[in-house]
Symmetry: none
Subunit: 211 residues, 4 copies
Amino acid sequence: MVIRSNKKPLSAKQPRAATVARRTSILAGALRCFDELGIDVTTISDIQREADCSVGSLYHHFGSKEGIAEELFIDGIQQFNAGMIRKLKRCNTAEASVKGVVRFYCDWTVRNRALASYLHSRDVDFSEEARDRLRNIHRTYIFEVYTLFARYVKSGEMRILPLDTYVPLISGPIQEYTRRWLSGQSESRASSIPKPMRELFAGSAWKVMRT
Amino acid sequence: MVIRSNKKPLSAKQPRAATVARRTSILAGALRCFDELGIDVTTISDIQREADCSVGSLYHHFGSKEGIAEELFIDGIQQFNAGMIRKLKRCNTAEASVKGVVRFYCDWTVRNRALASYLHSRDVDFSEEARDRLRNIHRTYIFEVYTLFARYVKSGEMRILPLDTYVPLISGPIQEYTRRWLSGQSESRASSIPKPMRELFAGSAWKVMRT
Amino acid sequence: MVIRSNKKPLSAKQPRAATVARRTSILAGALRCFDELGIDVTTISDIQREADCSVGSLYHHFGSKEGIAEELFIDGIQQFNAGMIRKLKRCNTAEASVKGVVRFYCDWTVRNRALASYLHSRDVDFSEEARDRLRNIHRTYIFEVYTLFARYVKSGEMRILPLDTYVPLISGPIQEYTRRWLSGQSESRASSIPKPMRELFAGSAWKVMRT
Amino acid sequence: MVIRSNKKPLSAKQPRAATVARRTSILAGALRCFDELGIDVTTISDIQREADCSVGSLYHHFGSKEGIAEELFIDGIQQFNAGMIRKLKRCNTAEASVKGVVRFYCDWTVRNRALASYLHSRDVDFSEEARDRLRNIHRTYIFEVYTLFARYVKSGEMRILPLDTYVPLISGPIQEYTRRWLSGQSESRASSIPKPMRELFAGSAWKVMRT
DNA sequence: AATGAATGAGCCTTCATTCAT
DNA sequence: GATGAATGAAGGCTCATTCAT
C-alpha cells in the first residue's frame, strides 16, 4: 500500500525512510483494527498494540485518532479512483467501459478486502480540512469518469438517464453482492468472487445501459 | 468476579398498557438518537433525554444499550418484511412482482426514513440470542419470498440465476440510490424520491430479470 | 461485546523511581481505606483521594480495584512470611521456635495493625492469576516452615500430630486474641498487646506442643 | 431454623402462618446468598430470586437489606448461644465443661455450616438498635457462661487467667481449624470434621486450662 | 400483603490526549 | 523522534429503595 505524508507543508524536506516506515506500519495496524472492530470501537491503544509503537509516536505522526482514520480513508479512495481511471482509459467501447466498471469494482474489492470494507463504513468523522480534500478528490474523479463516458452517451451507444442514476444502475448490483461477500468474509477468509459471477453482473449492467 | 444468572423467566403474563407505552417511547427516542448520532456515539443519557425517562427505566425494560439497539433492529426488520410480503401477495405476474419489490423498497424507505437508515447501519453488536432470533426471522422471510417467486422462474417468465444474485440484481440499484438519498436527507429533510425515478429502477430491474 | 487481549507484556525494564513511589503511595492509600471502610465499601474515589492521584493513574498502574487489592494482599503476605522465616531461623530449640511463632505473630500484628487486619479479611476476589501467585507463595512458605520444624518433631522434642493441626494449635489462641484486639483497635488506636499477655499465649502453645 | 419476628411491637397479634413462612423463606434465601457471595456483594435482587418473592415483599417484611442481615445474624447468634448454654448445663466437671465448649463449637459449626460461616463475617453494618440488642444478648450469654465456669476456677480445678484470654485459649485452636474447614467446604461440600480431630482439640484445651 | 415499574445517586472503568523526560 | 505516566471528562451500568396499583 502506498502511503503519502499529506499533512506536512509541501515544501518540507523529504521525510526519512524510517519515518515513512513508521507511518506505514501505523496505518496498516489501524486498518487491521478498523476492519475487525470498527472505527468507533477501535481505541488508540488497539492501534498502538497492532503497530507496535508508543502512544506518543501515534500522536507525533498523525495528531489524533481521527487523523489516522482520515489519512487511511483518503489514501484508500485515491488508490481506488486511480485504479478505476487507469482501467477505463484502456476501454474503447461503451460496453467494455460499463463492464469495466463492474469488473474493476469487483476485482479491487477482492484484492483489497479490508480497505474496501473500511471505505464502505460511514463512521469517519472528517475534519473540515479533510472534507475539503475529499470533495476535491471526488470532484476530479467524477469529472474524469464522466468525461470518459460522455462520448458514448453522445454517440447514442448508451442510454440518456438522470446523471445520479448511472452509478446506482451500473454499480448497485455488484456493490450489493460485494457487500454481502465482505460481511461473509469477516468469518471465513477464503474464497474470492468467481469470474462467471462477476460477468453476470457485468452483463446485467450493460443490459441496462445499452440503448 | 461474581457471576449471576441474569435471564428473566419468560413469564407469559400480559404487560400493562403503560409498560408497553414506555417501551415504545424508549424505542422511538433511541431511533431518533441513532439516526442523528449513530449507535456508537449515542449515549444512554441521550436516549434518556429523548425518551424522557430515568436511566433505571431504560435498564429495567431493555437490560442494556445493546438491548435497545437489538429490539429496535428486530422490530424494524419485521415491519419491513411483513410489508414486503403483503405487497408481493397482491402481485400476480412476474413483472408486477419484480417491480413490486423495487417499489416497496423505495416507498418504505421514504416513509420510514430513520428506521430504514438504522437498518442499514451495521454497528449493532448482536447478542447470540438476538442473532438467533434474526436468523429465524430471515430464514422465514427468505422462504416466503422465494416461494412467491418460484412459480415465475418455473414458468419461464423469469431468468434462472444463482440464488444469491436475485436480490443484488433486483434491489441493488434502488438500494444504492436510496442509500445516497438517505445520506443527503440527514441534512435537508424535505423531498421524497420522485415516482419517475422509482419507475426507472423498477423498469431496469425487470429488464434484467425477464427472459 | 468486543474482546481484547489485555495482558501487558512482562517487560523486564526497570521502572523509574517516580513510578515506584506512585505505586507505593497508591497501595498505602488503599490500605488506609480498606482498613477504615472495608474493601467492598471502599470506592476508587476514596483511594484516589487518599493517594492524591488521578483515576487514570490508578488504572494505569493496577488495572482495576481488584488489582490494587490483590497487590496489597500479596505484598503483605510476603512481608509477613519473610519476617516469620527470618525469626524462626534465629531459633535453635523447639521451645524457642514454637514460642517464636506466637511472639512474631503478636509483634508483627501490633506493628502492622492495618495490614494485619487487611490480611484477615476474606473479601478479596482474586483473579486466577493472583490465586496462582498466592498458591506458589504459600507452598514455598509452608515448605520452609515445615523444614525448620521437622527436626524437632524427629528428635522427639515436639509431639507428632496431624499436619493440619499444628497451625491451629500453636497460632489459634494468639490469632483469636489478636483478632479481638484488632476489632477493638479500630475505635481506640492506642495500646499494644502487653508482653505478659503475649508470653501467656507463647507458654500455652509450648505446653500443647511439648512431648 | 427458628425465625422470630423481632421488629414488631411485642403486643402485636400473632402473625399468620403464611407470613411466618414467607419471612422464613426470605431469611433462608438470604443466607444462601450471603454464603455464596458475601453480604456486600449480595443484592436485593439476588435474595429476591433465591426466595422467589417480589422486591416489595422483601421491604414489607424487613424494611431494608441491612434489616435482613441483622435479623439473620441475631437469630443465628441466639441459636448458637442457646445451644452452648444447654450443653454446658449438662456438664458437671471442669474438664467436661472445657471439652464441652470445644465439642459444641465443632459440632454446631459442622451442622450449621452456612450460618456459622455467616456469623464469622464482620461485614454486617448494624443499626444502633440492632447493636443494642446484640450487646444485651452478648452480655447475658457471657454472664451465663462465666457463672457456669466460675465455680471451677474458684475450686482450683481451672487456672486463674485474665478474663479475656479464656475464650482464645479454649476456643482459638478449634475456631482456627474450623475456619479453614469452612473455607475448604465452600468448594467440596462433603466431609465433616472427624471425631478424633475434635478430641485432639478438646484435649489440648483442657491441657492448657487445668491447674 | 404483594407486585414490579420507576428513580437517580453513585460506582467502576475507558480512553483520547498531553507533556516531561 | 520516541516513550509512557498522568489526566479527568464521560460513559455504561447497578442497585437500594419508593410507591401506585
